[in-house]
Each structure stands twice: as C-alpha cells, then as structure tokens.
C-alpha cells in the first residue's frame, strides 16, 4: 500500500510546485494548500499503514498489538489546524494586497521593491548612461 501513497505524495508535491511557480496569487494559495496536504500525507504514510484496528486497550488488558499507529494522526491533526489558520491568514492578506495594489500578478507587485530604487539611481537613468557611454 505504501508505494501507492508515495506516488500520490509525489504527484501532490509536483502539482503544488507547479501552482506555486504561477504568477497568479490565487494559484499560489492553492499551491500552499496542496503542499500542506502533501506534508500531512507524508506523516501519515511514515506512521506505516498496517492495521486499521483502533488503538484501544480492551478492559482488563494493559497492552495491545496490531493496531493503527495513533501518533501520526495526532501530528496531522496539529498540522491541519495550523495550516488552516495560516492559509486563512494568507487568503485575507492576499485579498487586501489585491485591494491595495490592484493586481494579483506576483511579478507586478513591486510596491516594496520598486524597480527604480537600486542604488539611488533609477534603472532608466542607468540605461540612459550606458547608452550615452556607448554612443
């Protein structure tokens, strides 16, 4: 069973990578979601997929064998809650960035690092100087 899940994990990471490389901010959010779920899947598979019996100790016994591993489920639960909160924040942030900047194209978002703010001279002025020097 594990190889199938490993392949699914690989496909999910590939999909996430593809989405994250997009310039569209909405696709980036979707990529983050898929990547987060791929992470959860990797933890789940790491805990081994042997038994499906719930890890409950029967009355009168102190030990059980051959039950599902509860630890990965606890870890995934934690990770799901965290990624839910973070993705919710990300969506709100992206939405207000869209409102303020008027674009969801990640390449066009240059408010923090404008093109003409390198070394105090604008790129245009620099290009002009180069052109003058060449002429």
């Amino acid at each position: 069973m594990e190889p199938v899940f490993a392949i699914v994990f690989g496909v999910m990471v590939a999909v996430a990578t593809y989405l994250l490389m997009s310039r569209n901010a909405l696709r980036i959010v979707l990529g983050l979601l898929v990547l987060g779920n791929a992470a959860n899947l990797s933890i789940f598979v790491a805990g081994r997929l042997g038994s499906r019996t719930p890890p409950l100790v029967p009355d009168g016994q102190t030990f059980v064998t051959e039950v599902a591993n509860p630890l990965p489920q606890a870890l995934i639960l934690t990770a799901i809650v965290i990624s839910f909160a973070l993705v919710a924040f990300t969506i709100v942030l992206f939405q207000s960035a869209y409102k303020q900047l008027g674009t969801i194209d990640a390449d066009a978002m240059r408010a923090a690092e404008p093109h003409d703010d390198v070394g105090g001279t604008s790129v245009k002025a620099g290009q002009q100087k180069v052109a003058e020097f060449a002429a």
Binding site: I43, A46, L75, F89, T90, A97, L101, A111, D117, G120
Partner: protein, 510 residues
Amino acid sequence: MTSHLLLTLPILFPLLGVALCALFWANKLAQRIVSLAASLGLLGSAIALMYAVFDGTVLATHFGNWDAPFGIVFVADMFSAVMVLITGVMAVAVGIYGLAGYIEPKENAFYHLLYQGLLLGVTGAFLTGDIFNLYVWFEIMLISSFGLLALGGTRSQLDAGVKYVTLNLIATTFFLITVGFLYGITGTLNMADLARVLPTVENQGLVTTLAVLFLMAFGSKAAVFPLFYWLPAAYHTASAPVVAIFAALLTKVGVYAIIRTFTLLFDGDAGYTGPIVAGIAIFTMVTGVFGAASHLDVRRILSFHIISQIGYMLFGIIVATPLAIGGSILYIVHHIVVKANLFLIAGIINRAGGSFHLKEVGGLYRTMPFLGVLFLIPALSLAGLPPLSGFWSKFTVIKASLDAGHVVLAGVGLAVGVLTLYSMIKIWNEAFWKSAPGASETAMVTWKGDRRTRALMLTPAISLAAVTLTIGLYAEPFVDFSLRAGAQLLDKSAYIDAVFPPAQFVGSLP
C-alpha cells in the same frame, strides 16, 4: 521541581502576555504595562535559567510526567539558555523602544499581543527537545511575525507580506515533510532519542538526505544563500521596533535549529554536508554584503547585512570543533545585540533626520554628535574592528576555520568584513557627515522638542551599545562561556542523560 519551573517560566511569561493583551484589547495603557511586565518576566526567568545551567548542567522537564520519548520534553543546555537570555534582553530593549510611538496609530491593533506571541514562539523553539514541537513553535513565531509585518497595512507592507508569507510557508511545510520522513525512518520525534537512534539506522544514505532536507528547511528560515529572498523583500517595510526584533530573533532561530540538529542529530555525516555548508556560507556572506553595498536605504542596507552575517554563524557546523561552535555561539549573541541596535538607531535617524533614505538625510553629526558615536559602536562592531564584540567573535570563528585548514572560508570571511566596513562608512558619510538637505530640518525640530520620545528611543540603544562594549572590552568570560557551550554541544551524552535519566528514576510512579 525547580527545573520544571525554570524551563517553563520563560514561555509562561510571554504566554500570559498574549492572553492578557487579548483581554485588554481596547486598553492601550494596560497592554503596554502587560507587555513590558511580561518581557521583564521573560528576562528575569532567563537569568534564573542561565544561573542554573551555567556550570554545565543540562536541565530537562517532561510535560505531563510522560517519560521520554513519549511525552514532550523541554531541555536547556548552555546554548539554549544563552539564546533565551539574549531573547529576554532584546524583548525588554525593543519593548521600551516600541513605546516611543512608532506604532502609535496601530498599537491597538494587536501590536503588543503579536510581539509577545513572537517572543513565545522564539523562546519555545530554543527550549524544546522535540522536533515536531519545534515545528509548532516555528509556526507560532511565524504567524506572529506575519501579523507584525502587515500591521501597518500600507501598500509596500502588504506587498512585502505576500512574499514573506509565501516563502516562509513553503519553508515550514518543507520542515514538516522532513519531520514526517524522519519519523518514518526512526519511529521517534524526541531529539535526544533521535540522537541515540539515528546512528543505528541501517540506511545511512537516507539519514544524509534528511540532513540536507533539514538544512534546506532551516536554511530558508536562517536566510542563507539561495533561500534568502524573503528577507530583503520584506524587512525594510516594517516599522523600526518590529524590524529590530525580527532582525534580532527570526533568522537566529533558523541558525539555532541548524546548529542544534547538526550537532545532536546529524554529526555522523559531516563529511558530506560539511563542504555543502561551507559553499552556502561563502555565498551567503558574499551575496549579502554586495546586496548591502548596492542600496541607499538604511533599512535595506542593514537587511542585507543580516544575510551576510548569517554566513559566519555557519562556521561552527562546518568546522565542528569546540572552538568553532563556541565561536558561532558568540557570533550569534554579538550579532543579535549589534544588529537590533543598528535598526533601533536607523529608527532614530529616521525620526531626527526625516527619512530612512540616505539621499534625504544628512548633517546628523553636527546636530547630534552623540548619536554619531552611538552609531559607530555597533557599526564598527558589525565590521569586526577591535576592541568591539564583533572582533572577538570574528576572531574566534576565523581562527577555528584556519586551524582546520579552511583557508578559503577564512579569507572570504575577512574580505566580507572589509566590505561590511564599506557599507557602514557609507551610512556614516551620508547620514552623519555630509551637510543636511533642507527637508530634514523640520524633523530635527520635532525630535528636539519631544523629550519623552528621545528618552524612550535612546535608552535602549545606549544600553545595547553598552552590552556591545562590555563584550568587547571584557571578552574573557563571554568567550569562555561560548567555548564551554560549544564543547557541551559536541558531547551529546549530557543532553541525552538529561532527557533519559539513569534507570532507577524511570517510571517511579507514586
């Protein structure tokens, strides 16, 4: 009993701070008092923790009394304790500075709450002895920093937030995936247990793969060479106190995690990861310092210098001798103090000179000679001039790398120091030395007229400069402590014994 208290108090104070700030969300004064009191509590408990581990003992506490490796443990050795202590110092210094009205319009919007949340995440990350728990603390730290960065809601902050959030989320998800793989191979998440189990794993190639994956995940947090792009895209948009606490703590948590995992978990395969880290360190130092040289905004220059300095902190795990790791620890402590102080002073330059941009300020040495001296102390220390703290930390790491024959590494380290000096001189020339452009006169009048703001902004800067001078002029105890901490990191047995006490104590139920 006391060890439980010593280890939990440093996270309880910020946690209490978060809770109370949320409770007093409409009352700015109450939030200020709570936040400052919580920071002071953090500092106090950090001093107590340092006192307890100073002689080399390793403290550990098992939450819920679950024996390791089943429950979550908190562990403090000398390295953890010094990181918590410096966090406490920064929390108080930047906390006082933050009262100067930098965030005034947005102070109600959860500034104090997020500030304490950031401290909570950072302190937890330094103290935890469980790798999944480390992930949780990372996330607490991140979500707080996201909030702090976007607090102002300006165009550039939102733009910076988009990049900062996306790249950091990818990095932490990477970390989570790696933790999953690690659990799959070893079946445990307790770091002391991992230190025992990992050398016995059959497929050591997989362990090396994990080491490199961790290096990528933590390296992205620490802003090392190919993974640093989130930092210069974001830091310069935040307000001065926010960027000061970011510069002090965020990347250093990444460095801490790298040093911790590569001394405790992955020391066996240093032959493979060593050259990789050496390459990363060299490129980190060089790209950072050139990035800084090309900018004229004080905050952007200083942001690039954070990246450049991270390279030196990696010397410890490249060389892996007590001297090198001790040097790295000393470097981290020195760098936190100096870098945060430079950002605080950048805030003062902005207040008194009217701008962060070097073309628009000037003449500050004429109007405020004292500020000029105050700037030179951390600036020259950053470049590594004797007798300041930067000299001793650079001296230690470079001597360690020369001892081990890493000549290129040491040479690049020295050259980058010179280039750092160039950037610092540039700030000095533009902001302090050249005559003032007309626009900045009004800012100076406002600054001179506001005694309270001056006191709130200058006191932390002067105190941190005093710390830099103390480390520089009275270096022996600091160097000695760092070297002992480095030796302790290389000897894993104390850490493991603290988490797994000798057999007679295990399972002693009442």
